[in-house]
Amino acid sequence: MTQRTTIDARGSFCPGPLMELIANLKLVEIGDEIEVLSTDEGSAKDIPAWVKKVKHEMVGIDQKGDVWHVVVRKMK
């Protein structure tokens, strides 16, 4: 069954939302999803760009107030 983990990376300057996503993807199973909460506008571009490059899957990006919710599925 697909699990979803949430990373609350709001206000995280270092290591930042994308680095947190990369680290956490190593801890979940293929098919699982990770939701990253970020207040860094760059995450809305950086994360999809990297996800496409390594061939994981973007599930969705949603902006609620000043927080971006980026959901990624591990594919390999």
Binding site: I7, D8, A9, G11, S12, F13, C14, P15, G16, P17, L18, M19, E20, I22, A23, K26, L27, V28, G42, D46, A49, W50, K53, V54
Partner: protein, 379 residues
């Protein structure tokens, strides 16, 4: 009945908290109303940031160590007896020797560990300086290095986030001083799309790299290392040849954390302001051990430790929490063998590193000695 405070981990975080609690709970300790116990893994306390200097012969190994007992306040009960199972329902911690320690308040400061073994070929094909054995091997390899391609490879997650930049700048200065820089090419690889997680640091480092002739490849997450062919490959489908590979291996938390079901990868789910393990009111988590998306660095552990000392002492004496952790991190950055800068930030304040200077470099060298006062809770 005395309140039992149990600290698992005798590294920087556990040591500062134990000593700090002794200062704040002197009266309660004298009256036997509280006990402070530390369970550690080693007789020796190591100053980990000093490892950066080992490959270049710039620090003596004995300067990295003090006897752990001598660093701890004598009122602390200290056992060298690694924890094997933490049972938060039973409020107890089992250890390697077969002992069981009970607690009223628990502090988890079990730190992080290098896991090069999680990437095929990395243990065989790479050097690193994040532990003493690795730093010694890297020193030997550098002694014999007379030119070629060096790759400085960074993997997530890792502690001391500025160390990869520092080692790169120091390698340049070291190789220049040995007269082999002209025969050397350095390529620095980083997991995300810039040279450092902190954008202002990345923006500063990139022109410095360009000026020095240091090459770089971003979006590089190591998939495997072929130690025989000397090729490192990334998840992003890039292959790089090397003569010497210096890696910052991916880290995991302590095995006792994952073995006890307290957090995937050994990272404990922790509230970023109270530093309490989520869902508990008597278990604090400090330093690398937390899953908070913040730098895994000595200064992080130190500032978190100060918060935990205040809150734990306040809980014991007043039955209430004292204050929140504001996310403060401070890092020195060596920008070569003779200059340095620093950066600080918290949850609200973005980082803004200043120009490098000799003064900051000297202050970092001074702090390498002053650390022992920090560990004792005096600085």
């Amino acid at each position: 009945m005395a309140k039992k405070i149990l600290i698992v981990g005798g590294g920087l975080a556990g040591t500062i908290i134990a000593n700090g609690l002794c200062r704040q709970l002197g009266k309660e300790l004298r009256a036997n109303e509280v006990t402070i116990t530390v369970i550690g893994n080693d007789e020796q306390h190591m100053y980990q940031p000093g490892l950066l200097y080992v490959p270049f012969g710039r620090i003596r190994e004995k300067e990295l160590f003090r006897d752990q007992r001598s660093v701890l306040d004598r009122r602390i009960v200290f056992h060298i007896d690694p924890a094997t199972k933490i049972d938060i329902a039973a409020k107890s911690v089992a250890t390697e020797s077969g002992n069981t320690f009970e607690y009223d308040y628990l502090v988890l400061a079990t730190g992080s560990r290098l896991r090069p073994d999680t990437i095929p070929g990395m243990s065989e094909g790479a050097h690193w300086f994040y532990d003493l054995e690795g730093a010694r091997k890297m020193r030997e390899a550098l002694d014999e290095f007379d030119g070629g391609k060096i790759i400085v490879n960074v993997n997530a997650p890792h502690k001391c986030p500025v160390a990869p930049l520092e080692i790169t700048f120091m390698l340049r200065d070291y190789l220049q001083s040995r007269g082999v820089w002209d025969k050397t090419e350095i390529i620095y690889t980083y997991p995300i799309g810039r040279l450092h997680a902190l954008e202002p640091v990345a923006n500063w480092a990139q022109p410095e790299f360009d000026k020095a002739g240091i090459k770089y490849e971003t979006f590089f997450n190591t998939k495997s290392v072929d130690a025989e062919k000397k090729i490192i490959s990334s998840e992003e489908e890039s292959d790089l040849e090397y003569d010497m590979l210096v890696t910052i291996p991916p880290h995991h938390g302590a095995a006792v954390i994952s073995d006890s079901g307290l957090g995937a990868g050994g990272w404990v789910p922790t509230d970023r302001e109270t530093l309490l393990h989520n869902g508990t009111d008597n278990i604090f988590v400090c330093g690398d051990t937390t899953n908070i998306p913040i730098s895994k660095a000595g200064s992080t552990a130190h500032f978190e430790a100060d918060t935990i000392i205040d809150n734990l002492a306040s809980l014991v004496t007043e039955g209430r929490m004292a204050r929140k952790y504001d996310g403060k991190v401070f890092c020195f950055i060596e920008t070569g063998m003779d200059e340095g800068t620093y950066v600080w930030f918290n949850y609200q304040t973005p980082p803004n590193p200043g120009p490098p200077s000799q003064m900051v470099h000297w202050f970092k060298l001074a702090y390498n000695r002053l650390y022992w006062l920090s560990a004792r809770g005096l600085l």
